[in-house]
């Protein structure tokens, strides 16, 4: 039997699975589909904004202590969060996808978004690091004619307006592929071919001006990304970096693949296409979770269960037209407002955020879901990631940081408990 069943294959579930498997637990991850990471820009946001404040956070680590009590960061605190991020950096480094932050550990990087806004990112993959907006070098935003969902002119204009000189240019898409209507992942795969990368690098060399760095859509290789980056920089003679695209996002897919491979090496299988839709309990213990199949429900027996299914955007919380919201696997108590009229404030961009996104599963300091009286709901259930209450990752720009910090901490809490039982 499994020691731990993780429900959800996003960043929090995978990090928790790793933290538990590393300490010898028998772990499996199940997921309805492949989600969240495929939509993410691939960086790690820690904390960009504090609720109710207009200005971006300058010292994100220190600012963790300024978050309201109950925020998931307040449980591990600065020390626990730093430790979890270090573990993430370590495993990504071993996977060949190095993540680094600003020179000072207590500051965010400022990187261009897909529309040319400045976004606060705590750790960036090597491919995006060169987009650092604290660097004064002017930017050549290079797009490809006919490539959907990447707009160099928009990006360059917005960056320039923000005080970062940038200009837009285009190359023909057949530099990369002769097939039509390719999406980002297919283009990234095409650029895994060294010959194509070389040809692109040579074309960039002709277009780039002295002193410029080149921002390209995030399609610079998928499985051979570091090599593709190297070839492009060498052939173009200029620093090259990626600007995230609309989904599916190659940096997110790389991250997902790297974590999945790391888990496989640690003996953890990740099964997609398995939607949790029921469970069996005995008193306050969950005996098994059931997933939907082509016929009978499949039982997943484990001694510990971690809920890492995501929030209302990720599918861990569902709702109906009246605004009634529920947690989809165990029906756990939620802090989410249960009437549609209470979901949103009158102002769309209210700096305090929207209540519906701050709602979620409340937990105790051991990451175990609790009811309104603070009592543990199920003795062997834990929760991590965006399903948790008291965080609004959209407003805070804290999505990946919360996922990593809570995933690792919950995984460790489960290891401790499992050790206690053994």
């Amino acid at each position: 039997m499994l020691d731990l069943l993780v429900i959800g294959a996003g960043l929090s579930g995978m990090m928790a699975a790793y933290a538990a498997a590393r300490d010898g637990l028998r772990v499996r991850v199940i997921a309805k589909g492949l989600g969240s990471m495929h939509w993410s820009a691939g960086g790690v946001d820690l904390l960009g904004y504090l609720p109710g404040e207009e200005d971006a956070v300058v010292t994100p680590l220190t600012a963790l202590d300024a978050l309201p009590a109950g925020h998931p960061y307040r449980i591990p605190g600065q020390e626990g969060v730093t430790e979890a991020l270090a573990l993430f950096q370590e495993i990504m480094g071993q996977s060949g996808l190095a993540y680094t932050g600003a020179p000072s550990a207590d500051s965010n990087l400022s990187l261009p978004s897909p529309v040319g806004a400045a976004r606060p990112v705590y750790l960036a993959p090597a491919g995006q690091r060169g987009g650092d907006l604290d660097d004064d070098a002017p930017i050549l935003v290079m797009g490809f004619q006919g490539m959907r969902d990447f707009y160099p002119e928009l990006i360059a204009e917005n960056l320039t307006r923000l005080g970062h000189p940038a200009r837009a240019d285009f190359l023909p898409l057949d530099m990369i592929t002769n097939l039509r209507d390719r999406n980002t992942i297919q283009l990234a795969l095409a650029l895994d071919e060294p010959e194509r990368a070389k040809r692109l690098g040579q074309a960039l060399k002709v277009r780039v001006r002295s002193g410029e760095r080149i921002g390209l859509p995030a399609i610079l290789g998928l499985d051979e990304h570091p090599r593709t980056l190297e070839i492009l920089a060498a052939e173009s003679g200029a620093p090259v970096f990626e600007i995230p695209t609309l989904p599916p996002s190659a940096p997110g897919v790389r991250l997902h693949k790297a974590l999945r491979a790391t888990l496989l090496d640690a003996g953890v299988r990740v099964e997609a296409g398995m939607e949790a839709m029921g469970f069996e309990r005995e008193g306050k213990r969950i005996r098994w979770v059931e997933t939907e199949t082509a016929a009978r429900p499949l039982k997943h027996r484990a001694s510990h269960f971690l809920l890492a299914t995501g929030g209302i955007l990720g599918g861990g919380i569902d709702s109906d037209h009246t605004g009634k919201a529920w947690e989809v696997v165990f029906g756990l108590p939620l802090t989410t407002p249960q009437a549609r009229s209470q979901w949103f404030r009158p102002e769309f961009l209210d700096p305090r955020g929207q209540p519906v996104f701050r709602g979620g599963v409340p937990v105790n300091n051991e990451w175990q879901p609790v009811d309104g009286d603070g009592q543990v709901v199920y003795e062997n259930v834990w929760a991590a990631g965006n399903v948790l209450a008291h965080t609004d990752p959209i407003l805070e720009r804290s999505l990946e940081g919360v996922a990593i910090a809570t995933g690792v901490a919950a995984g460790q809490a489960i290891v401790q408990r499992a050790g206690g039982h053994a």
Binding site: K32, G33, L34, G35, S36, H38, W39, L179, R180, D181, N183, T184, I185, Q186, L189, P247, P248, V253, R269, E271, A272, G273, M274, E275, M277, G278, T291, E292, T293, A294, A295, R296, L298, R301, G315, D318, W326, V328, V329, G331
Partner: protein
């Protein structure tokens, strides 16, 4: 608490958030322009197929191989492969079916016809001249890996011949052999029977038809419905009485469980009993294993075994039970393939215009198998056409996992594909 998977195929398309993960993982869209990808052909084009539109806007859907990788990776539970299958059926209803597709859908009939005179049939089908003719006249790719008819009778012939030696027991299971085991690979059925009897189960083989999947894949829903009705009539009673209906072809069992009821909108009591009572053989063995009843009297087998869980096995959504059981055999080093698809997708890769696509799709699997080292003698896969495709693409023989398990119990010879005579 029920999510989208419990909703109808049509309603599921409203859950699509256009994230394109399906397109990113679609093995066909990544290598050809002829198929724009699951999102476009599925939930997107479906908008234009609503309300009895007379003509489908999207004939590219014919290039969907039906592998169901899109369903597997979709984070929103959209039943993309089913949308595509229904769209193909609409095209067939509008425009009729080419003779070639009609023939490929009639697996059972072909099997029966060839089994009358297997030597002649094999010669007629497999000589290079007829393959060229078949390609020119019918559009059946001349290189594609067609099976050969069994020369020593069908699987059911063997069951009858050995009736007196078959185990009688209070514990009974029903075996669904499918057309391939019946006519081309009776040895897979023999291995399955041997393993089930080894666990003390009597194996019942009622009359049965083709599961109907080849017809469903080719958009011939009406004929598939006839087959499914017959199967329900023959097997539904057993399922209702609680006998597990066990199959060795993961695509046949998937059809009994889900494809036929869902695509054909058949939801009666007997249909649902059969759906709920059908098992892939390794899914069933896993259940026995979980109950602590799987026999472990294995012989040691030193082998490196590249194993590919075919798309249709993954589409059962029960994990990879064959992988887990094979890993219990001492000495067997199972290497798990993460390739998306072998390419052949039932009848898809036999069509001349799709043969090369199927081979290109399969390349990542062929490479995986060949990368496992010189000492590899066999690959393994649960689905027959996938095995034939893997053999075609790698030049290495491929075996059903049940053949390997039967060999590990000392019941079966993997090389000759014969049961080992038991000393009594």
């Amino acid at each position: 608490m029920h999510g989208i998977s419990w909703q109808s195929v049509d309603h599921s398309l409203d859950e699509c958030i256009k994230c394109n993960i399906c397109t990113a993982y679609c093995p066909v869209a990544s290598i050809t322009d002829l198929f724009p990808g699951p999102k476009y052909s599925g939930p997107q084009a479906q908008r234009f197929r609503e309300n009895g539109q007379p003509h489908s806007p999207d004939h590219a859907v014919d290039y969907c191989s039906g592998c169901r990788v899109c369903n597997e990776v979709c984070p929103s539970g959209v039943k993309i492969a089913e949308l595509n299958a229904r769209a193909r059926a609409q095209i067939v209803a509008d425009h009729g079916l080419p003779l070639r597709n009609r023939l490929l859908g009639r697996n059972e009939l072909l099997g029966k016809a060839g089994s009358l005179a297997p030597g002649l049939a094999n010669f007629a089908l497999h000589n290079p001249i007829s393959r060229i003719v078949a390609e020119k006249v019918m559009g059946i790719a001349k290189e594609a890996p067609l099976p050969t008819w069994s020369r020593d009778g069908t699987f059911v012939d063997w069951m009858k011949r050995t009736a007196s030696q078959r185990l009688r027991s209070d514990k009974k299971v029903v075996y669904f052999h499918g057309c391939a085991t019946m006519h081309y690979e009776p040895f897979v059925g023999k291995a399955a029977v041997a393993v089930m009897e080894h666990h003390g189960y009597e194996v019942i083989v009622p009359p049965q038809n083709c599961c109907g999947l080849p017809m469903l894949s080719n958009g011939e829903f009406k004929a598939a419905e006839g087959y499914h009705r017959n199967n329900v009539a023959h097997l539904g009673g057993y399922a209702l009485a609680g006998y597990p209906v066990i199959g060795t072809s993961t695509s046949c069992t998937l059809t009994l469980k889900e494809e036929a009821p869902e695509l054909l909108d058949m939801h009666g009591e007997a249909v649902t009993s059969l759906k709920m009572g059908t098992w892939d053989i390794f899914e069933w063995l896993m259940e026995i294993y979980d109950a602590g009843e799987l026999r472990t009297d294995f012989q040691e087998m030193e082998m490196v075994l590249p194993y590919h869980a075919p798309c249709q096995a993954r589409a059962h959504r029960v994990g990879k039970p064959a992988l887990e059981i094979l890993a219990l055999i001492p000495g067997v080093d199972v290497r798990e393939s993460h390739a998306r698809c072998c390419g052949i997708a039932g009848t898809y890769g036999y069509k001349v215009e799709k043969y090369q696509i199927a081979m290109d799709v399969g390349q990542e699997l062929f490479d995986f198998v060949l990368d496992q080292g010189e000492e590899v003698e066999y690959s393994a896969c649960d689905s027959e056409t996938c095995r034939w495709q893997m053999e075609h693409g790698t030049d290495l023989p491929s075996r059903h996992p049940i053949e390997i398990l039967a060999a590990a119990y000392g019941l079966y010879d993997m090389e000759t594909r014969e049961l080992v005579e038991q000393a009594t």
